[in-house]
């Protein structure tokens, strides 16, 4: 993996952690009356995080194939559980942990199958993304 690719992955995951916080804001907004001042504040924060995501994601998918970038988004599943547990004191039952592990494993395999193609054949998706730059 090239140094630039590693940096792109680091940026992607930092961005995804920040982006996952939009879930916290969505949940807070859902508890407020529609268009009440607090609703606007929390929903506004969702939009701000979305704006941040918009700019960062557009740059990321120019440097990574869409499927690979999308696959890494699975980490937001873990962040959702972490925020739900820490902030909203949600009960995380055994079946939810099992389900999350399966989803993350599935997404890791998804990304791995894509990466394998890149190394062996040079996937068309990565060529496309390089052309886009």
């Amino acid at each position: 993996m090239k140094k630039n690719t590693v940096l792109t992955y680091v940026a992607l995951h930092l961005m995804l952690m920040i982006y996952s916080m939009s879930g916290i804001c969505s949940k807070l907004a859902s508890k407020q009356a529609f268009l009440s001042p607090k609703f606007i504040l929390y929903y506004g924060m969702v939009i701000v995080l979305l704006g941040f995501y918009a700019i960062a994601w557009q740059q990321i998918i120019k440097r990574l194939p869409l499927t690979t970038a999308y696959a890494n988004r699975a980490v937001t599943v873990i962040w959702g559980a972490v925020w739900g547990f820490l902030i909203f004191h949600e009960e995380i039952r055994f079946n939810k942990i099992t389900g999350i592990i399966l989803v993350v494993a599935g997404v890791a395999l998804y990304a791995l199958s894509d990466g394998g193609d890149d190394v062996k054949k040079g996937s068309s998706a990565s060529e496309e993304s390089e052309e886009a730059q």
């Binding site: 859902s30 959702g80 939810k96 599935g106 997404v107 998804y110 791995l112 996937s123 068309s124």
Partner: protein, 115 residues
């Protein structure tokens, strides 16, 4: 899963579907060459994609009235199904057995977490 959670979950599932469509629009935009940096963002394709994305966020807010935050992103993982289908149909990306197995794991995980 209670009936209320199931009902509110539908909003997340719908929002995820339309945001997968917006991802395709963004990828299409990223593949084009634009005269300036600002035009990479301010063009009809990118703007409509983000409009769809905003509708999806409103779907999420409605959904979270009944869905726990810890379940939301699990349901959003249905996006991999759509992105694979769109990847094959629109961008002619290849699907191998590993990817099919991965999708099976993801679907199993969603079902296990949601039940």
């Amino acid at each position: 899963m209670t009936k209320t959670v199931a009902l509110y979950s539908l909003f997340i599932l719908f929002g995820t579907f339309i945001s997968a469509i917006s991802q395709v629009m963004l990828k299409k935009a990223a593949m084009k060459t634009y005269p300036s940096k600002i035009r990479e963002y301010l063009n009809p394709l990118v703007l409509s994609a983000y409009l769809i994305f905003i509708v999806a966020t409103l779907c999420s807010v409605i959904a979270y009235r009944g869905v726990p935050l810890s379940l939301g992103p699990v349901l959003e993982a249905t996006s991999y199904i759509y992105v694979t289908i769109f990847g094959v149909k629109i961008f002619h990306e290849k699907v191998n057995r590993k990817k099919i197995l991965a999708l099976a794991l993801i679907i199993a995980g969603i079902v296990v977490a949601a039940v």
